[in-house]
Protein backbone atom coordinates (compact mmCIF):
# COMPACT_ATOMS: atom_id res chain seq x y z
CA UNK A 1 0.00 0.00 0.00
CA UNK A 2 2.81 2.38 0.91
CA UNK A 3 4.50 1.33 -2.29
CA UNK A 4 1.40 2.13 -4.32
CA UNK A 5 1.13 5.54 -2.74
CA UNK A 6 4.75 6.27 -3.46
CA UNK A 7 4.31 5.31 -7.11
CA UNK A 8 1.21 7.45 -7.29
CA UNK A 9 3.15 10.48 -6.10
CA UNK A 10 6.01 9.81 -8.51
CA UNK A 11 3.60 9.17 -11.38
CA UNK A 12 1.73 12.39 -10.87
CA UNK A 13 4.93 14.39 -10.61
CA UNK A 14 6.16 12.81 -13.85
CA UNK A 15 3.10 13.95 -15.81
CA UNK A 16 2.83 17.25 -13.98
CA UNK A 17 5.16 19.15 -16.36
CA UNK A 18 3.12 18.00 -19.35
CA UNK A 19 -0.13 18.94 -17.65
CA UNK A 20 1.24 22.34 -16.75
CA UNK A 21 2.58 22.87 -20.28
CA UNK A 22 -0.81 22.02 -21.79
CA UNK A 23 -2.55 24.17 -19.18
CA UNK A 24 -0.45 27.15 -20.24
CA UNK A 25 0.06 26.57 -23.97
CA UNK A 26 -3.47 25.43 -24.71
CA UNK A 27 -5.88 26.73 -22.10
CA UNK A 28 -3.88 29.73 -20.90
CA UNK A 29 -3.17 30.95 -24.40
CA UNK A 30 -6.77 30.41 -25.50
CA UNK A 31 -7.93 32.59 -22.61
CA UNK A 32 -5.36 35.17 -23.62
CA UNK A 33 -6.61 35.11 -27.22
CA UNK A 34 -10.17 35.44 -25.91
CA UNK A 35 -9.12 38.48 -23.89
CA UNK A 36 -7.44 40.04 -26.94
CA UNK A 37 -10.59 39.42 -28.99
CA UNK A 38 -12.52 41.63 -26.55
CA UNK A 39 -9.97 44.44 -26.80
CA UNK A 40 -9.25 47.44 -28.98
CA UNK A 41 -5.85 46.09 -30.08
CA UNK A 42 -6.36 46.71 -33.74
CA UNK A 43 -3.09 48.47 -34.51
CA UNK A 44 0.55 47.99 -33.67
CA UNK A 45 0.67 51.19 -31.65
CA UNK A 46 -2.29 50.09 -29.55
CA UNK A 47 -0.40 46.92 -28.77
CA UNK A 48 2.80 48.82 -27.95
CA UNK A 49 0.99 51.16 -25.59
CA UNK A 50 -0.41 48.01 -24.06
CA UNK A 51 -3.42 49.72 -22.55
CA UNK A 52 -6.16 47.18 -22.49
CA UNK A 53 -9.52 48.62 -23.33
CA UNK A 54 -12.44 46.23 -23.10
CA UNK A 55 -14.78 46.70 -26.05
CA UNK A 56 -17.08 43.74 -25.46
CA UNK A 57 -18.29 41.95 -28.55
CA UNK A 58 -17.44 44.83 -30.90
CA UNK A 59 -14.87 42.83 -32.89
CA UNK A 60 -17.25 39.93 -33.32
CA UNK A 61 -20.05 42.20 -34.47
CA UNK A 62 -17.72 43.85 -36.95
CA UNK A 63 -16.72 40.45 -38.32
CA UNK A 64 -20.24 39.22 -38.84
CA UNK A 65 -21.05 42.44 -40.67
CA UNK A 66 -17.93 42.12 -42.79
CA UNK A 67 -18.74 40.76 -46.26
CA UNK A 68 -15.35 39.05 -46.51
CA UNK A 69 -15.97 37.12 -43.30
CA UNK A 70 -19.47 36.21 -44.46
CA UNK A 71 -17.93 34.83 -47.64
CA UNK A 72 -15.46 32.87 -45.50
CA UNK A 73 -18.28 31.26 -43.55
CA UNK A 74 -20.15 30.26 -46.69
CA UNK A 75 -16.93 28.93 -48.20
CA UNK A 76 -16.24 26.90 -45.07
CA UNK A 77 -19.74 25.48 -45.14
CA UNK A 78 -19.67 24.38 -48.78
CA UNK A 79 -16.06 23.29 -48.66
CA UNK A 80 -16.81 21.12 -45.62
CA UNK A 81 -19.93 19.56 -47.13
CA UNK A 82 -18.37 18.59 -50.45
CA UNK A 83 -15.05 17.66 -48.93
CA UNK A 84 -16.70 15.34 -46.40
CA UNK A 85 -18.94 13.78 -48.99
CA UNK A 86 -16.12 13.29 -51.51
CA UNK A 87 -13.57 11.97 -49.06
CA UNK A 88 -15.91 9.52 -47.36
CA UNK A 89 -17.48 8.26 -50.60
CA UNK A 90 -14.12 7.75 -52.26
CA UNK A 91 -12.64 6.31 -49.08
CA UNK A 92 -15.40 3.69 -48.86
CA UNK A 93 -15.04 2.80 -52.53
CA UNK A 94 -11.28 2.45 -52.15
CA UNK A 95 -11.71 0.28 -49.07
CA UNK A 96 -14.25 -2.03 -50.74
CA UNK A 97 -12.09 -2.45 -53.83
CA UNK A 98 -8.90 -3.05 -51.89
CA UNK A 99 -10.65 -5.39 -49.45
CA UNK A 100 -11.64 -7.76 -52.26
CA UNK A 101 -8.16 -9.21 -51.96
CA UNK A 102 -7.49 -9.13 -55.70
CA UNK A 103 -3.95 -9.53 -56.92
CA UNK A 104 -2.06 -6.27 -56.52
CA UNK A 105 -4.53 -4.74 -54.10
CA UNK A 106 -1.76 -4.15 -51.58
CA UNK A 107 -0.03 -1.97 -54.16
CA UNK A 108 -3.18 0.04 -54.78
CA UNK A 109 -3.72 0.44 -51.06
CA UNK A 110 -0.22 1.82 -50.56
CA UNK A 111 -0.63 4.11 -53.53
CA UNK A 112 -3.96 5.49 -52.33
CA UNK A 113 -2.52 6.31 -48.95
CA UNK A 114 0.70 8.00 -50.02
CA UNK A 115 -0.75 11.55 -50.28
CA UNK A 116 -1.21 11.42 -46.51
CA UNK A 117 2.57 11.43 -46.08
CA UNK A 118 2.92 14.64 -48.06
CA UNK A 119 2.63 18.20 -46.84
CA UNK A 120 -0.52 20.16 -47.67
CA UNK A 121 1.87 22.80 -48.94
CA UNK A 122 3.28 20.46 -51.58
CA UNK A 123 -0.22 19.31 -52.55
CA UNK A 124 -1.30 22.91 -52.91
CA UNK A 125 1.70 23.84 -55.02
CA UNK A 126 1.25 20.99 -57.48
CA UNK A 127 -2.55 21.18 -57.80
CA UNK A 128 -2.27 24.92 -58.17
CA UNK A 129 -0.30 24.37 -61.34
CA UNK A 130 -2.62 21.67 -62.63
CA UNK A 131 -5.67 23.90 -62.23
CA UNK A 132 -4.04 27.13 -63.38
CA UNK A 133 -6.38 28.11 -66.22
CA UNK A 134 -3.91 29.93 -68.46
CA UNK A 135 -5.32 32.67 -70.70
CA UNK A 136 -8.56 31.54 -72.20
CA UNK A 137 -9.53 30.74 -74.86
CA UNK A 138 -6.29 30.76 -76.83
CA UNK A 139 -3.59 29.92 -74.34
CA UNK A 140 -5.00 27.28 -72.03
CA UNK A 141 -2.85 25.65 -69.38
CA UNK A 142 -3.06 22.67 -67.06
CA UNK A 143 -6.36 20.79 -67.09
CA UNK A 144 -7.72 23.27 -69.62
CA UNK A 145 -4.92 22.39 -72.01
CA UNK A 146 -5.81 18.73 -71.62
CA UNK A 147 -9.46 19.48 -72.42
CA UNK A 148 -8.39 21.56 -75.39
CA UNK A 149 -6.29 18.72 -76.78
CA UNK A 150 -9.18 16.31 -76.33
CA UNK A 151 -11.45 18.68 -78.22
CA UNK A 152 -13.51 19.42 -75.10
CA UNK A 153 -13.05 23.19 -75.34
CA UNK A 154 -16.40 23.95 -73.75
CA UNK A 155 -15.19 22.35 -70.51
CA UNK A 156 -12.46 24.96 -70.16
CA UNK A 157 -13.08 27.52 -67.46
CA UNK A 158 -11.32 29.67 -64.89
CA UNK A 159 -11.18 27.01 -62.11
CA UNK A 160 -9.97 28.66 -58.91
CA UNK A 161 -9.78 32.06 -60.55
CA UNK A 162 -13.44 31.93 -61.54
CA UNK A 163 -15.89 34.19 -59.74
CA UNK A 164 -18.92 32.13 -60.78
CA UNK A 165 -21.19 30.91 -58.05
CA UNK A 166 -24.30 28.86 -57.47
CA UNK A 167 -26.16 30.66 -54.74
CA UNK A 168 -23.53 31.11 -52.07
CA UNK A 169 -21.34 28.31 -53.38
CA UNK A 170 -18.27 29.73 -55.08
CA UNK A 171 -17.36 27.35 -57.88
CA UNK A 172 -13.70 28.31 -57.51
CA UNK A 173 -13.71 26.03 -54.47
CA UNK A 174 -14.12 22.95 -56.66
CA UNK A 175 -10.40 22.58 -57.51
CA UNK A 176 -9.51 23.08 -53.84
CA UNK A 177 -12.01 20.39 -52.86
CA UNK A 178 -10.53 18.05 -55.48
CA UNK A 179 -7.06 18.60 -54.02
CA UNK A 180 -8.26 18.10 -50.43
CA UNK A 181 -10.13 14.90 -51.35
CA UNK A 182 -6.99 13.72 -53.13
CA UNK A 183 -5.01 14.15 -49.95
CA UNK A 184 -7.39 12.61 -47.43
CA UNK A 185 -9.44 9.90 -49.13
CA UNK A 186 -6.67 7.35 -48.59
CA UNK A 187 -6.77 8.10 -44.89
CA UNK A 188 -10.50 7.44 -44.86
CA UNK A 189 -9.86 4.24 -46.74
CA UNK A 190 -7.43 3.13 -44.03
CA UNK A 191 -10.05 3.77 -41.37
CA UNK A 192 -12.68 1.75 -43.22
CA UNK A 193 -10.24 -1.04 -43.99
CA UNK A 194 -9.45 -1.37 -40.30
CA UNK A 195 -13.20 -1.55 -39.69
CA UNK A 196 -13.91 -4.04 -42.46
CA UNK A 197 -11.13 -6.33 -41.30
CA UNK A 198 -12.52 -6.23 -37.78
CA UNK A 199 -15.89 -7.67 -38.82
CA UNK A 200 -16.02 -11.32 -37.71
CA UNK A 201 -16.15 -13.69 -40.64
CA UNK A 202 -19.01 -15.82 -39.28
CA UNK A 203 -21.42 -12.88 -39.52
CA UNK A 204 -20.68 -12.58 -43.22
CA UNK A 205 -20.86 -16.34 -43.66
CA UNK A 206 -24.22 -16.50 -41.91
CA UNK A 207 -25.60 -13.84 -44.24
CA UNK A 208 -24.27 -15.77 -47.24
CA UNK A 209 -25.95 -18.94 -46.02
CA UNK A 210 -29.20 -16.99 -45.79
CA UNK A 211 -28.74 -16.23 -49.48
CA UNK A 212 -27.95 -12.52 -49.23
CA UNK A 213 -26.24 -11.02 -52.28
CA UNK A 214 -22.87 -9.34 -51.99
CA UNK A 215 -24.54 -5.98 -52.45
CA UNK A 216 -27.04 -6.70 -49.73
CA UNK A 217 -24.38 -7.99 -47.36
CA UNK A 218 -22.50 -4.74 -47.80
CA UNK A 219 -25.39 -2.40 -47.16
CA UNK A 220 -27.35 -4.43 -44.61
CA UNK A 221 -24.56 -6.15 -42.69
CA UNK A 222 -21.26 -4.34 -43.11
CA UNK A 223 -22.31 -0.70 -43.33
CA UNK A 224 -24.30 -0.72 -40.06
CA UNK A 225 -21.28 -2.26 -38.33
CA UNK A 226 -19.12 0.49 -39.79
CA UNK A 227 -21.25 3.34 -38.44
CA UNK A 228 -18.79 4.17 -35.64
CA UNK A 229 -16.04 4.47 -38.27
CA UNK A 230 -18.15 6.78 -40.39
CA UNK A 231 -18.81 8.89 -37.33
CA UNK A 232 -15.11 9.08 -36.45
CA UNK A 233 -14.25 9.91 -40.05
CA UNK A 234 -16.86 12.67 -40.18
CA UNK A 235 -15.53 14.21 -37.00
CA UNK A 236 -11.83 13.97 -37.84
CA UNK A 237 -12.26 15.19 -41.42
CA UNK A 238 -14.82 17.79 -40.38
CA UNK A 239 -12.49 19.36 -37.88
CA UNK A 240 -9.64 19.38 -40.42
CA UNK A 241 -11.91 21.12 -42.87
CA UNK A 242 -13.04 23.76 -40.36
CA UNK A 243 -9.46 24.83 -39.74
CA UNK A 244 -8.05 24.32 -43.23
CA UNK A 245 -5.23 26.74 -43.95
CA UNK A 246 -2.01 25.48 -45.58
CA UNK A 247 -3.63 23.85 -48.58
CA UNK A 248 -5.64 26.91 -49.55
CA UNK A 249 -2.80 29.27 -48.72
CA UNK A 250 -0.36 27.41 -50.97
CA UNK A 251 -2.83 26.63 -53.74
CA UNK A 252 -4.96 29.70 -54.33
CA UNK A 253 -4.78 32.19 -51.47
CA UNK A 254 -7.95 34.24 -51.03
CA UNK A 255 -8.65 34.45 -54.76
CA UNK A 256 -10.47 37.22 -56.64
CA UNK A 257 -13.37 38.58 -54.54
CA UNK A 258 -12.28 36.12 -51.84
CA UNK A 259 -13.82 33.22 -53.76
CA UNK A 260 -11.46 30.76 -52.08
CA UNK A 261 -10.92 32.63 -48.82
CA UNK A 262 -11.36 30.77 -45.52
CA UNK A 263 -11.40 32.04 -41.92
CA UNK A 264 -7.87 30.79 -41.25
CA UNK A 265 -6.44 32.86 -44.10
CA UNK A 266 -8.34 35.97 -43.06
CA UNK A 267 -7.14 35.44 -39.49
CA UNK A 268 -3.56 35.14 -40.71
CA UNK A 269 -3.75 38.31 -42.77
CA UNK A 270 -5.44 40.34 -40.04
CA UNK A 271 -2.98 39.25 -37.36
CA UNK A 272 0.29 39.05 -39.26
CA UNK A 273 -0.15 41.39 -42.21
CA UNK A 274 -2.25 44.27 -40.94
CA UNK A 275 -1.68 44.13 -37.16
CA UNK A 276 -5.37 43.90 -36.34
CA UNK A 277 -4.79 41.50 -33.51
CA UNK A 278 -8.19 41.84 -31.87
CA UNK A 279 -10.11 41.02 -35.05
CA UNK A 280 -7.73 38.17 -35.85
CA UNK A 281 -8.19 36.78 -32.35
CA UNK A 282 -11.95 36.98 -32.71
CA UNK A 283 -11.75 34.80 -35.84
CA UNK A 284 -9.49 32.36 -33.99
CA UNK A 285 -12.02 32.07 -31.19
CA UNK A 286 -14.86 31.50 -33.65
CA UNK A 287 -12.82 28.75 -35.33
CA UNK A 288 -12.15 27.20 -31.93
CA UNK A 289 -15.85 27.20 -31.11
CA UNK A 290 -16.67 25.44 -34.38
CA UNK A 291 -14.06 22.78 -33.73
CA UNK A 292 -15.06 22.38 -30.06
CA UNK A 293 -18.69 21.73 -31.00
CA UNK A 294 -17.53 18.82 -33.13
CA UNK A 295 -14.70 17.47 -30.98
CA UNK A 296 -15.76 17.81 -27.34
CA UNK A 297 -18.75 15.41 -27.49
CA UNK A 298 -16.59 12.98 -29.46
CA UNK A 299 -13.81 13.07 -26.87
CA UNK A 300 -16.16 12.56 -23.97
CA UNK A 301 -18.09 9.71 -25.53
CA UNK A 302 -14.91 7.88 -26.47
CA UNK A 303 -13.42 8.36 -23.00
CA UNK A 304 -16.62 7.15 -21.38
CA UNK A 305 -16.96 4.21 -23.75
CA UNK A 306 -13.52 3.11 -22.66
CA UNK A 307 -14.38 2.92 -18.99
CA UNK A 308 -17.02 0.26 -19.49
Amino acid sequence: MILRKKNLVIGISVVAPSIIAIAIFVYGFISWTLRVSFSNWNSFSALLRGEYKFVGLRNYIRLFQDTRFQTDLWNTLFFTLFFLFGTIALGIIMAILVDKGLKGSRLFQNLYLFPMAISFVVTGTVWSWIFAPGTLPNNPQGINLLFHKLGLDNLMWGWYTSTDSLGHFNLALIPVIIAAVWQLSGYTMAMYLAGLRGIPNDIIEAAKVDGASEWKIFWKVKMPLLTPITLSALIILGHISLKIFDLVFAMTGSGPNFVTDVPAIYMFELTFRSNRYALGSAIAIIMLLFVAVVIVPYLFTSMRGEKR
Binding site: G104, Y112, S119, V126, K149, A194, A264, Y277, E306, K307
Partner: protein, 269 residues
Protein backbone atom coordinates in the same frame (compact mmCIF):
# COMPACT_ATOMS: atom_id res chain seq x y z
CA UNK B 1 -16.43 -9.91 -65.18
CA UNK B 2 -16.79 -8.52 -61.68
CA UNK B 3 -13.03 -8.74 -61.30
CA UNK B 4 -12.42 -6.72 -64.44
CA UNK B 5 -14.83 -4.06 -63.27
CA UNK B 6 -13.04 -3.88 -59.94
CA UNK B 7 -9.71 -3.46 -61.67
CA UNK B 8 -11.09 -0.71 -63.87
CA UNK B 9 -12.18 1.25 -60.81
CA UNK B 10 -8.93 0.54 -58.99
CA UNK B 11 -6.99 1.90 -61.94
CA UNK B 12 -9.23 4.95 -62.44
CA UNK B 13 -8.74 5.95 -58.82
CA UNK B 14 -5.03 5.26 -59.14
CA UNK B 15 -4.90 7.67 -62.07
CA UNK B 16 -6.47 10.42 -59.96
CA UNK B 17 -3.87 9.79 -57.27
CA UNK B 18 -1.03 9.65 -59.77
CA UNK B 19 -1.80 12.80 -61.80
CA UNK B 20 -0.03 15.22 -59.44
CA UNK B 21 2.87 12.83 -59.07
CA UNK B 22 3.20 12.59 -62.83
CA UNK B 23 3.15 16.36 -63.28
CA UNK B 24 5.61 16.76 -60.44
CA UNK B 25 8.13 14.30 -61.85
CA UNK B 26 7.69 15.20 -65.51
CA UNK B 27 8.18 18.90 -64.82
CA UNK B 28 11.02 18.51 -62.36
CA UNK B 29 13.19 16.71 -64.87
CA UNK B 30 12.53 18.95 -67.85
CA UNK B 31 15.26 21.26 -69.09
CA UNK B 32 14.58 24.99 -69.21
CA UNK B 33 13.64 25.07 -72.92
CA UNK B 34 10.90 22.45 -72.46
CA UNK B 35 8.94 23.99 -69.61
CA UNK B 36 6.63 26.03 -71.83
CA UNK B 37 2.97 25.70 -70.94
CA UNK B 38 2.08 23.78 -74.09
CA UNK B 39 4.41 20.91 -73.14
CA UNK B 40 3.10 20.64 -69.62
CA UNK B 41 1.58 17.15 -69.91
CA UNK B 42 4.44 15.67 -71.91
CA UNK B 43 7.30 13.69 -70.53
CA UNK B 44 10.65 15.44 -70.90
CA UNK B 45 12.26 14.79 -74.27
CA UNK B 46 15.57 15.24 -72.61
CA UNK B 47 15.83 14.43 -68.93
CA UNK B 48 17.64 17.16 -67.07
CA UNK B 49 18.68 17.73 -63.48
CA UNK B 50 19.07 21.48 -63.88
CA UNK B 51 15.74 22.31 -62.21
CA UNK B 52 16.52 19.96 -59.38
CA UNK B 53 19.96 21.45 -58.83
CA UNK B 54 18.63 24.99 -58.87
CA UNK B 55 15.87 24.09 -56.41
CA UNK B 56 18.42 22.43 -54.18
CA UNK B 57 20.56 25.57 -54.20
CA UNK B 58 17.56 27.64 -53.17
CA UNK B 59 16.03 25.24 -50.64
CA UNK B 60 19.13 23.50 -49.33
CA UNK B 61 19.53 25.71 -46.24
CA UNK B 62 15.81 25.38 -45.49
CA UNK B 63 15.96 21.61 -45.80
CA UNK B 64 18.74 21.74 -43.24
CA UNK B 65 16.57 23.89 -40.96
CA UNK B 66 13.76 21.37 -41.28
CA UNK B 67 16.07 18.55 -40.21
CA UNK B 68 17.43 20.59 -37.30
CA UNK B 69 13.84 21.23 -36.25
CA UNK B 70 12.25 17.87 -36.89
CA UNK B 71 14.80 15.44 -35.50
CA UNK B 72 15.21 16.86 -31.97
CA UNK B 73 11.52 17.72 -31.67
CA UNK B 74 10.57 14.19 -32.69
CA UNK B 75 12.95 12.47 -30.29
CA UNK B 76 12.06 14.64 -27.30
CA UNK B 77 8.33 14.33 -27.83
CA UNK B 78 8.60 10.54 -28.23
CA UNK B 79 10.23 10.23 -24.80
CA UNK B 80 7.75 12.56 -23.16
CA UNK B 81 4.90 10.60 -24.72
CA UNK B 82 6.35 7.32 -23.53
CA UNK B 83 6.69 8.28 -19.87
CA UNK B 84 3.31 10.03 -19.90
CA UNK B 85 1.71 6.99 -21.50
CA UNK B 86 3.13 4.83 -18.72
CA UNK B 87 1.54 7.00 -16.05
CA UNK B 88 -1.84 7.35 -17.78
CA UNK B 89 -2.14 3.62 -18.43
CA UNK B 90 -0.63 2.06 -15.33
CA UNK B 91 -0.86 4.57 -12.48
CA UNK B 92 -4.53 5.08 -11.80
CA UNK B 93 -5.11 8.36 -10.06
CA UNK B 94 -8.33 10.20 -9.47
CA UNK B 95 -9.73 11.95 -12.54
CA UNK B 96 -6.95 10.45 -14.69
CA UNK B 97 -9.36 9.98 -17.60
CA UNK B 98 -10.74 13.46 -17.30
CA UNK B 99 -7.27 14.98 -17.18
CA UNK B 100 -6.31 12.90 -20.17
CA UNK B 101 -9.35 14.06 -22.16
CA UNK B 102 -8.49 17.66 -21.32
CA UNK B 103 -4.94 17.11 -22.58
CA UNK B 104 -6.22 15.34 -25.68
CA UNK B 105 -8.37 18.29 -26.67
CA UNK B 106 -5.10 20.14 -27.26
CA UNK B 107 -4.41 18.14 -30.39
CA UNK B 108 -7.64 19.15 -32.09
CA UNK B 109 -7.68 22.90 -31.46
CA UNK B 110 -7.10 25.22 -34.37
CA UNK B 111 -3.65 26.54 -33.52
CA UNK B 112 -4.78 29.99 -34.61
CA UNK B 113 -6.45 30.22 -31.21
CA UNK B 114 -3.08 30.16 -29.41
CA UNK B 115 -0.91 31.79 -32.04
CA UNK B 116 -0.82 35.41 -30.95
CA UNK B 117 -0.08 34.73 -27.25
CA UNK B 118 2.38 32.03 -28.26
CA UNK B 119 4.39 34.46 -30.33
CA UNK B 120 4.35 37.10 -27.60
CA UNK B 121 5.51 34.43 -25.19
CA UNK B 122 8.32 33.28 -27.49
CA UNK B 123 9.39 36.90 -27.93
CA UNK B 124 9.53 37.36 -24.17
CA UNK B 125 11.77 34.31 -23.67
CA UNK B 126 13.89 35.33 -26.70
CA UNK B 127 13.06 32.23 -28.73
CA UNK B 128 10.93 33.94 -31.34
CA UNK B 129 12.23 33.44 -34.85
CA UNK B 130 14.54 30.60 -33.87
CA UNK B 131 14.60 26.89 -34.55
CA UNK B 132 14.75 26.07 -30.80
CA UNK B 133 11.57 28.13 -30.42
CA UNK B 134 9.86 25.99 -33.05
CA UNK B 135 11.16 22.83 -31.41
CA UNK B 136 9.60 23.90 -28.12
CA UNK B 137 6.29 24.58 -29.86
CA UNK B 138 6.19 21.19 -31.55
CA UNK B 139 7.22 19.34 -28.41
CA UNK B 140 4.47 20.96 -26.35
CA UNK B 141 1.68 20.60 -28.91
CA UNK B 142 2.88 17.04 -29.61
CA UNK B 143 2.20 15.95 -26.02
CA UNK B 144 -1.45 14.91 -26.63
CA UNK B 145 -0.85 12.63 -29.62
CA UNK B 146 2.37 11.05 -28.35
CA UNK B 147 0.83 10.41 -24.92
CA UNK B 148 -2.23 8.91 -26.60
CA UNK B 149 -0.28 6.46 -28.74
CA UNK B 150 1.88 5.24 -25.85
CA UNK B 151 -1.06 5.08 -23.47
CA UNK B 152 -2.99 2.86 -25.87
CA UNK B 153 0.07 0.73 -26.42
CA UNK B 154 0.82 0.24 -22.73
CA UNK B 155 -2.85 -0.51 -21.97
CA UNK B 156 -2.32 -3.78 -23.81
CA UNK B 157 0.49 -4.73 -21.45
CA UNK B 158 -0.96 -6.82 -18.57
CA UNK B 159 -1.04 -4.90 -15.29
CA UNK B 160 0.27 -8.01 -13.53
CA UNK B 161 3.59 -7.56 -15.27
CA UNK B 162 4.00 -4.10 -13.78
CA UNK B 163 2.64 -5.19 -10.38
CA UNK B 164 5.07 -8.10 -10.28
CA UNK B 165 7.94 -5.76 -10.94
CA UNK B 166 6.82 -3.54 -8.04
CA UNK B 167 6.57 -6.64 -5.84
CA UNK B 168 10.14 -7.52 -6.73
CA UNK B 169 11.08 -4.20 -5.22
CA UNK B 170 11.66 -2.31 -8.47
CA UNK B 171 10.62 1.31 -8.19
CA UNK B 172 8.63 3.44 -10.56
CA UNK B 173 11.46 4.29 -12.96
CA UNK B 174 13.16 0.91 -12.78
CA UNK B 175 9.88 -0.74 -13.74
CA UNK B 176 9.71 1.57 -16.72
CA UNK B 177 13.25 0.88 -17.89
CA UNK B 178 13.19 -2.87 -17.18
CA UNK B 179 9.61 -3.85 -18.05
CA UNK B 180 7.98 -1.32 -20.36
CA UNK B 181 10.75 0.39 -22.28
CA UNK B 182 12.26 -2.82 -23.73
CA UNK B 183 8.92 -3.76 -25.32
CA UNK B 184 8.15 -0.22 -26.51
CA UNK B 185 10.01 -0.27 -29.81
CA UNK B 186 6.91 -0.64 -32.02
CA UNK B 187 5.22 2.28 -30.26
CA UNK B 188 8.37 4.36 -30.58
CA UNK B 189 8.53 3.64 -34.28
CA UNK B 190 4.90 4.70 -34.73
CA UNK B 191 5.34 7.89 -32.72
CA UNK B 192 8.63 8.83 -34.33
CA UNK B 193 7.25 8.40 -37.83
CA UNK B 194 4.09 10.27 -36.96
CA UNK B 195 5.87 13.21 -35.36
CA UNK B 196 8.56 13.33 -38.02
CA UNK B 197 5.98 13.49 -40.80
CA UNK B 198 3.77 16.02 -39.06
CA UNK B 199 6.50 18.37 -37.96
CA UNK B 200 8.25 18.20 -41.31
CA UNK B 201 5.02 18.98 -43.16
CA UNK B 202 3.77 21.65 -40.77
CA UNK B 203 3.26 25.15 -42.09
CA UNK B 204 1.28 27.46 -39.77
CA UNK B 205 3.76 27.54 -36.87
CA UNK B 206 6.64 27.52 -39.32
CA UNK B 207 5.45 30.62 -41.15
CA UNK B 208 4.47 32.60 -38.05
CA UNK B 209 7.21 31.69 -35.59
CA UNK B 210 10.14 32.17 -37.97
CA UNK B 211 10.56 35.48 -39.71
CA UNK B 212 13.92 35.60 -41.48
CA UNK B 213 14.30 33.49 -44.63
CA UNK B 214 17.48 31.80 -43.41
CA UNK B 215 15.65 30.39 -40.40
CA UNK B 216 12.59 29.14 -42.26
CA UNK B 217 11.73 25.45 -42.57
CA UNK B 218 11.39 24.09 -46.06
CA UNK B 219 7.58 24.24 -46.25
CA UNK B 220 7.67 28.02 -45.86
CA UNK B 221 10.51 28.37 -48.33
CA UNK B 222 8.57 26.29 -50.86
CA UNK B 223 5.52 28.54 -50.63
CA UNK B 224 7.73 31.59 -51.10
CA UNK B 225 9.47 29.94 -54.04
CA UNK B 226 6.19 29.00 -55.69
CA UNK B 227 4.74 32.43 -54.98
CA UNK B 228 7.44 34.30 -56.85
CA UNK B 229 6.57 34.78 -60.49
CA UNK B 230 10.16 34.82 -61.70
CA UNK B 231 11.00 31.26 -60.71
CA UNK B 232 10.68 28.70 -63.50
CA UNK B 233 8.12 25.91 -63.22
CA UNK B 234 10.64 23.12 -63.26
CA UNK B 235 12.41 24.70 -60.27
CA UNK B 236 9.12 25.10 -58.39
CA UNK B 237 8.12 21.51 -58.99
CA UNK B 238 11.60 20.30 -58.09
CA UNK B 239 11.24 22.29 -54.88
CA UNK B 240 7.95 20.57 -54.15
CA UNK B 241 9.57 17.21 -54.80
CA UNK B 242 12.48 18.04 -52.49
CA UNK B 243 10.06 19.09 -49.76
CA UNK B 244 8.06 15.90 -50.12
CA UNK B 245 10.99 13.52 -50.45
CA UNK B 246 11.99 12.90 -46.80
CA UNK B 247 8.50 12.02 -45.60
CA UNK B 248 7.84 10.09 -48.80
CA UNK B 249 10.92 7.95 -48.21
CA UNK B 250 9.80 7.30 -44.63
CA UNK B 251 6.38 6.28 -45.94
CA UNK B 252 7.81 3.93 -48.55
CA UNK B 253 10.15 2.25 -46.05
CA UNK B 254 7.90 2.17 -42.99
CA UNK B 255 4.38 2.61 -44.32
CA UNK B 256 2.90 -0.03 -42.04
CA UNK B 257 3.82 1.93 -38.93
CA UNK B 258 2.70 5.17 -40.51
CA UNK B 259 -0.81 3.75 -40.93
CA UNK B 260 -0.86 2.71 -37.28
CA UNK B 261 -0.07 6.26 -36.23
CA UNK B 262 -2.80 7.57 -38.51
CA UNK B 263 -5.37 5.29 -37.00
CA UNK B 264 -4.23 5.98 -33.44
CA UNK B 265 -4.97 9.63 -34.04
CA UNK B 266 -8.55 8.91 -34.99
CA UNK B 267 -9.84 5.75 -33.42
CA UNK B 268 -10.67 6.25 -29.77
CA UNK B 269 -8.82 8.00 -26.99
Amino acid sequence: MKKILAYIFLILIALYILIPLYVLLATTFKPLQEIGISDMWKLPKQWSLSGFIKAFQKLGPNLKNSFYLTIPATIVSAFIGSINGYVFSKVKFKYANLVFAIILFGMFIPYQSVLFPLIRFLQSIKLYGTIPGLILVHVVYGIPITTLIFRNYYSEVPNELVEASYMDGAGFFKTYTKVLFPISIPAFVVVIIWQFTNIWNEFLFAVTVTSSPEKQPVTVALVNLAGSQVVEWNVQMAGALLTALPTLIVYILLGKYFIRGLLAGSVKG
